[in-house]
């Protein structure tokens, strides 16, 4: 696969962006990428329903992880509140499909929209905090929202909402929807990161004050990233809700969604494009391996998370990259960040 930061440089060098990608990535890498995508596209034809469902959930996790990666990994905003975006997305789809008989596809699009609107609204108070204050603020916000939804009878309170399953796609279609979402999530990151905002984001992550001095309107840039991130999480939530067929606030707004996203990204490699994907494969494999020991699986995940933070700050992918001496590897400063 390819490396982002280097790409952006190449990108600048070349006449046009597409050209640069091609010029930089050896045909081999492209072939590899194409091969993987093709394999995933054809999977439903060959695999059994279980595998399909498994890969489908992995798509959702990749999307969620990339969404967190954009703010956590690239902008340095440690959000502990992504569950809120996910949950809002889920409820939007549920409500639209149940009460307004909106079709599945427009419904999930709305989910993305609602989530980002929410992000924009909360950004005004929440961006006044930096670092850990931001982390706590987002956590508190999403918990408050959860409690609200548990009690709000208009959205069914604790009993939640039962979607008209008849109007939701079949597992195979869900697979492709998830597939599309994962690609979009990753694609959006690619686009954002080597267009102008990409520089702003990483500048803010590395040194917010210096970034301001370089003319970066940090608020607007952060807002953009936050909104996009929320949108992806919202889409994921919407799709997931339709897939479940019935949602209730306890689990759909549960902090577990945030935990999953963070685990995945940190284990895979913060601030890298491939990291979250690797992380998803890793965590899924782990939970599959231990599927008969739910709690033990989570304990191990926690242990791994700590070990990674302690000894592998660049994450699995980041570390591999450094060892394989892939361009622009962050070996030197990884621990300092």
């Amino acid at each position: 696969m390819y490396r982002l930061r280097r790409m952006s440089v190449e990108y600048q060098k070349s006449r046009a962006s597409q050209g640069s990608l091609l010029s930089h990535l050896s045909w081999l890498r492209w072939a590899l990428l194409a091969l993987v995508l093709l394999a995933l596209a054809l999977l439903p034809q060959v695999a059994d329903p279980y595998t399909i469902a498994l890969v489908y959930t992995m798509f959702i996790y990749v999307a969620l992880a990339q969404s967190w990666n954009l703010v956590g990994g690239y902008t340095g905003l440690i959000s502990l509140g992504h569950a809120a975006f996910f949950g809002l997305g889920a409820y939007t789809t549920a409500i639209l499909m149940t009460w307004a008989n909106v079709d599945f596809y427009p419904a999930i699009l709305a989910s993305g929209l609602v989530a980002s609107i929410f992000a924009v609204i909360i950004s005004f108070p929440i961006f006044r905090f930096r670092g850990i204050y931001f982390a706590i603020g987002t956590l508190v916000l999403s918990e408050a929202l959860r409690i609200w939804m548990i009690n709000w009878s208009l959205t069914g309170g604790a009993q939640g909402i039962n979607l008209p399953i008849a109007n939701t796609p079949d597992p195979i279609s869900f697979y492709y929807v998830g597939f599309a979402l994962a690609i979009i999530a990753t694609g959006v990151l690619v686009l954002v990161l080597h267009s102008k905002p990409g520089f702003g984001l990483r500048a803010i992550r590395d040194n917010e004050d210096a970034a301001q001095n370089m003319g970066v309107n940090t608020f607007m840039v952060k807002l953009t990233a936050f909104a996009i991130s929320a949108c992806i999480a919202g889409l994921a939530g919407g799709i997931y809700a339709a897939y479940l067929g019935t949602i209730e606030p306890y689990s759909i707004f549960s902090v577990d969604w945030t935990i999953t996203a963070i685990n995945t990204v940190i284990i895979g490699g913060m601030g890298t494009l491939i990291g979250p994907i690797i992380g998803t494969i890793f965590t899924t494999a782990l939970s599959e391996g231990l599927k008969n020991y739910q709690t033990i699986h989570l304990i191990i995940t926690g242990v791994i998370l700590i070990l990674v933070i302690r000894f592998l700050p660049a994450g699995i992918w980041g570390q591999l990259r450094n060892w394989l001496r892939l361009p622009g590897s962050t070996a030197r400063e990884a621990r300092k960040v």
Partner: protein, 416 residues
């Protein structure tokens, strides 16, 4: 330090790669399902709350399902006419920790990975419905008990693959008033209902029914499951002067409520603790404080149904616990499902589903007929009123079924 770090990094990455290689293995591992013409076994699965707030119900479901399956297997399994052989039944149970999303995950796994031929329900609407939805989507028949039928239908009026055998809230929410009519009271009721499916549905029904029977809902508290401090609600109920408390909540919450009522010295003349006071845990936690509390029931060992009394003895012999009516409906649910499989004579989900629909027979829990429900797919069980007396539940209404004297009014807390 640095060296150590590098070492760990190696280990970590190694681990990572191991995982990556592990994944496809798992994907593959998830396939089975014999294609030889006669199936080796019939797989029935259920997600049940073995732990968590609803664990009490889970334990009965576990016993009820297992007992029914064991009985069938004793006689060599189920006869499938299509293959003209008896095929043993394999029952797979997963714990859902009383969490709806866990039910979904478990049921997904049962259907996709374990390739079950049919499903049994979890306990109570919040857990049964997510499972039913999965069954519905994957066209696998599911038979459930422990789910009041209107809550069940509220989730989806047009079930095609999910079936429910339990009491009808409409009928059940009259028992309290009928019972009270046999004694003197100020006809003022304080309602405590959680905001889960059945809590909401029954809350509404009580509010509707009360006037019909000449009772007044003096105070209605609605709150989320897991609420820890009921002080404010109790004070309001007390202030409303209600002599009758009707609650609909999970057992741990009910226990908390009852304790805090004692702390705050609110003592109604009669208390109906629906759902919460059903399992014996209620009595075990409160002992004499629970004396005289009532809960609507739909089954009793002395009822004239086949094997009723023996089922109770069997349970208490197996487990050493006091029985609960839930052993009956879960046992029955499993029986109904397996009878349907025999009727279908094959493992074709469609056929089994149809067969379930045609069920019309009196089981240990009573007559089962899915045509009787307010809408299809539900078979209502007639309810009556039980009262906790010295660690046992006794029928106190209707009088013709009564097994003991009706303790009324409750003695003041000081006397407990």
């Amino acid at each position: 330090m640095m060296k150590q770090t590098r070492l760990f990094q190696l280990i970590m990455v190694g681990l990572g790669l191991m995982m990556l290689t592990l994944l496809p293995a798992c994907g593959g591992g998830a396939s089975s399902g014999s294609s030889s013409n006669a199936p080796k076994q019939i797989v029935i699965g259920a997600s049940i709350p073995e732990t968590g707030a609803l664990a009490a119900f889970g334990s009965y479901a576990k016993w009820g399902y297992s007992a029914a399956v064991a009985d069938v297997n004793k006689s060599g399994g189920l006869f499938l006419s299509k293959y003209n052989v008896k095929v043993p039944v394999k029952l797979i149970l997963y714990d859902d920790q009383s969490q709806p999303d866990q039910v979904t995950a478990n049921t997904q796994r049962l259907v996709l990975s374990d390739k079950v031929n049919a499903l049994l329900g979890s306990a109570t609407p919040p857990l049964v419905i997510p499972g039913a939805v999965v069954a519905e989507r994957n066209h696998i028949p599911l038979v459930a008990g422990m789910t009041p039928i209107r809550a069940f239908l509220g989730a989806n009026p047009h079930w095609t693959y999910a079936w429910d055998i339990f009491f009808d809230e409409f009928d059940m929410t009259q028992q309290q008033f009928l019972t009270m009519n046999t004694v003197q009271s100020n006809h003022k009721v304080a309602l405590f209902t959680d905001n889960e499916q059945d809590g909401v549905v029954m809350g509404q029904l009580w509010t509707q029914n009360a006037p019909k029977f000449g009772y007044q809902i003096a105070y209605h508290a609605s709150f989320p499951v897991g609420t820890t401090d009921y002080g404010d609600l109790i004070r309001r109920a007390q202030a409303s002067g209600a002599q009758i408390v009707i609650a609909q909540m999970e057992t741990p919450d009910a226990i908390t409520l009852w304790r805090q009522m004692q702390t705050l010295n609110y003592r109604p003349a009669a208390a109906f603790i629906e759902k919460g006071a059903e399992p014996v845990q209620w009595w075990n936690a409160l002992k004499m404080a629970a004396q005289g509390t009532m809960v609507a029931g739909y089954w009793y060992p002395t009822l004239p149904y086949p094997g009723a009394s023996t089922l109770r003895q069997r349970f208490e012999k197996d487990t050493g616990q006091t029985y609960s009516q839930h052993i009956a409906d879960t046992y029955t649910a499993a029986q109904v499902l397996m009878d349907a499989i025999v009727k279908a004579g094959s493992l074709d989900a469609q056929a089994i589903n149809t067969a379930i629909g045609q069920t019309n027979k009196t089981y240990v829990v009573g007559p089962v007929d899915f045509a009787k429900g307010p809408a299809g797919h539900t078979s209502p069980l007639p309810s009556f009123m039980l009262q906790w007396q010295d660690g046992q539940t006794q029928i106190v209404y209707p009088q013709n079924k009564a097994t003991a004297r009706f303790i009324y009014p409750l003695p003041p807390w000081s006397a407990v």
